[in-house]
């Protein structure tokens, strides 16, 4: 028994050591980024890992990033694009998934596969034809063009997750609502949608992270000269790197990174309970 106890303690210690190591690998770069954003450029280069001089914290890096490097503008664009994308993806995918999960109609299965095919194809493969299509429709260099691309690319994953969710809900709830006098839209909105909340939160977080950090499509579709005012945060960060080739302000760049990272971190930490619940529910009952 005692021997087994020792082994048990050893394995617990081992597991904690591994988890701690993993935690450090994940968390340390963020902390490093945070305190580096408060250092002078020369201090960053002199000793990259040293803590900042607390008597001389460079809060001005944040002001510079926000005003000089126009991060305020990029931040606004990112918030707008992400919010609208999120709203549209949640609305459209939940309605599509509900219909695909609840009703049997001709073509339902091919339609689901069509949605899922979007998960298989990387966006890089479609970017050239998409570019020309956007150009011919006059959507290049516009926020609504980018939004359209984001919503379309967000739908496959969302429909995939939510179809599983709606399938796992008992049909009798819908039937009960219909007998209670609800029409299809009311049954969906008042009964089925609130019950799919864990799934919706999962989709919301993934869509948020995907859209907030998205660089590739934004870079391609907002490439024109006239589109600089529509730049999102990832584009802004890239711009600093490009501009800084000649005169580097790394403190400001790190401040920009922190500003880009914070909302995603906040969203994740607030909703992580729902996220894990959503993923397991979908996996088990989907």
């Amino acid at each position: 028994m005692k021997r087994l106890g020792c082994l048990g303690i050893a394995s617990v210690v081992g597991i904690y050591a591994i988890l701690l190591g993993y935690g450090v690998v994940v968390v340390y770069p963020m902390i490093w980024m945070l305190y580096t954003s408060l250092k002078r450029d020369d201090a960053i280069f002199a000793n990259p890992f040293q803590l900042p001089d607390f008597a001389d914290l460079r809060w001005v890096n944040y002001r510079n990033a926000w005003v000089v490097a126009k991060f305020g503008e990029y931040f606004g664009n990112s918030v707008l694009v992400t919010a609208v994308t999120l709203l549209l993806v949640l609305l459209l995918s939940s309605m599509a998934a509900y219909a695909l999960a609840r009703f049997s109609f001709p073509g339902a299965k091919p339609l689901l596969f069509y949605f899922l095919a979007g998960l298989m194809l990387p966006v890089q493969m479609a970017i050239v034809p998409l570019f020309f299509q956007m150009k011919s429709m006059g959507l290049l260099g516009t926020l609504h063009g980018l939004l359209l691309a984001y919503v379309a690319s967000g739908l496959p994953f969302a429909v995939f997750v939510l179809t599983g969710f709606f399938r796992s809900l008992p049909a009798s709830l819908h039937e009960s609502a219909v007998i209670d006098g609800a029409n299809e839209l009311q049954a969906f909105w008042h009964i089925m949608r609130p019950l799919a909340k864990p799934g919706l939160v999962t989709v919301a977080i993934f869509s948020f992270l995907g859209t907030w950090n998205e660089f590739f499509m934004a870079f391609i579709f907002l490439s024109g000269e006239g589109a600089t005012r529509f730049r999102t945060l990832p584009l802004g960060l890239a711009n600093i790197a490009i501009v800084s080739q000649y005169r580097t302000d790394w403190g400001m760049a790190f401040a920009g990174l922190v500003m880009a990272m914070l909302p995603a971190l906040l969203a994740y930490s607030l909703l992580q309970k729902h996220l894990t619940k959503g993923i397991t529910l979908g996996a088990l009952k989907g």
Partner: protein
């Protein structure tokens, strides 16, 4: 309140006929039970009445309205589901109020209606709880509350007691009967449990493989089953069936069974005349077989026999005997005062006036229900019997 009329109601799922030409009238304020084994079509029939299942053929009338093409909410019905189907994210109050909200009933009226239903069902203190905070019996009452709050014309109940434990089921059964008496709402109740059917229904419609076998009062079904299926389905323990050959002599009929010769009275023998020299399926309920030593039914020639007892199950005031006569298994339910012993023979008396005879080919009852029987009279008036 309203009557419900099913005319030639049929439902096909591709090649499977779930409900076959069902004709049935449920009277205003009646409590009708649809009963049958799994897959007999009872739930499908109920779902067609609710509007949750499309009708392949036939008509459904609620009151005078043909409702075939009406969506569920326009049929003025309420349904209680087997799993209650309570909305898990809503409180008890909101669950009960949902139907009224959808119908745009003013807030004050919703509150008073929900309060009334909660008072009837004893849910007053639970109105702000969520379904997951309730016990099985409480959830069941909320499901009922959600149904009665709208004062529908018809209640549809799909095995509402099957998720409750045995004790609570008996208690809730009585509450449901009381509730029906108070509200007087036409109710169609689906169950596979014949005890529930017998205790709750004004009338019972027995279904098997999509066909209605018989629809009548519980006692009529018990005393005068229309065919072998109904005879075997209604009553617990189930009726004994033994194949026997009929021989007619001097206006009386004798059926020869393994280990016994049983004679029918003259008025019943008349109906057996076409079966002279042929086989019939003889049916006797376990409770109509008595221990000869203590029997209230006098023994005479033609109502006695011997069975070999295999196992005795005491159930209190009765004992269930698992026995055999020849190759046939016989179940008897006798008074626990009997001195019957396992692995010994027992002299028995059979109450011949309560026995049954069925055509071995069609399974239909050979003796017609007596015309003086109240239940049978009722049956003639409204129930449409269709033996498969």
């Amino acid at each position: 309140m309203a009557s419900v009329k099913l005319q030639h109601l049929t439902k096909r799922f591709r090649d499977v006929v779930a409900v076959n030409d069902l004709n049935l009238t449920i009277r205003d304020k009646e409590f009708l039970v649809l009963v049958g084994p799994s897959g007999c079509g009872k739930t499908t029939a109920l779902r067609m009445i609710a509007g949750l299942e499309e009708i392949t053929e036939g008509e459904i009338y609620i009151g005078d309205r043909l409702v075939n093409d009406l969506i569920p909410k326009d049929r003025d019905i309420a349904m209680v589901f087997q799993n209650y189907a309570l909305y898990p994210h809503m409180t008890v109050f909101d669950n009960m109020a949902f139907g009224l909200k959808m119908r745009r009933v003013p807030k004050e009226q919703i509150k008073s209606e929900v309060d009334r239903a909660a008072r009837i069902l004893g849910l007053g203190k639970l109105l702000h709880r969520k379904p997951k905070q309730l016990s099985g019996g409480q959830r069941q009452r909320v499901a009922l509350g959600r149904a009665i709050v709208r004062r529908p014309q018809v209640f549809l109940m799909d095995e509402p007691l099957s998720n409750l434990d045995a004790k609570l089921r008996v208690q809730t059964r009585a509450e449901l009967i009381k509730l029906h008496r108070e509200l007087g709402i036409t109710t169609i109740y689906v169950t596979h449990d014949q005890v529930e059917a017998m205790t709750m229904g004004h009338r019972i419609a027995v279904l098997n493989e999509g066909f209605m076998q018989q629809c009548d009062t519980p006692l009529t079904l018990y005393r005068h089953p229309a065919n072998v299926f109904v005879a075997g389905f209604i009553g617990s323990p189930a009726m004994n069936f033994v194949e026997g050959t009929v021989s007619m002599a001097n206006g009386t009929a004798v059926v020869e069974l393994p280990g016994m010769k049983l004679g029918f009275s003259a008025d019943r023998a008349v109906h057996l005349r076409p079966y002279d020299g042929k086989k019939i399926t003889f049916g006797v309920r376990p409770e109509d077989i008595h221990d000869r030593a203590i029997s209230m039914v006098p023994a005479r020639e033609g109502n006695t026999g011997t069975i070999s007892v295999d196992v005795i199950e005491p159930t209190g005031d009765r004992c269930v005997l698992y026995a055999h006569a020849g190759e046939e298994t016989i179940i008897a339910s006798i008074s626990s005062e009997s001195k019957a012993r396992e692995l010994a023979d027992l002299e028995v008396v059979i109450d011949m006036d309560k026995t049954h005879a069925f055509d071995p080919t069609t399974g239909a009852a050979i003796f017609p229900p007596p015309s003086t029987d109240e239940g049978a009279k009722e049956a003639e008036e409204s129930a449409e019997v269709s033996a498969q």
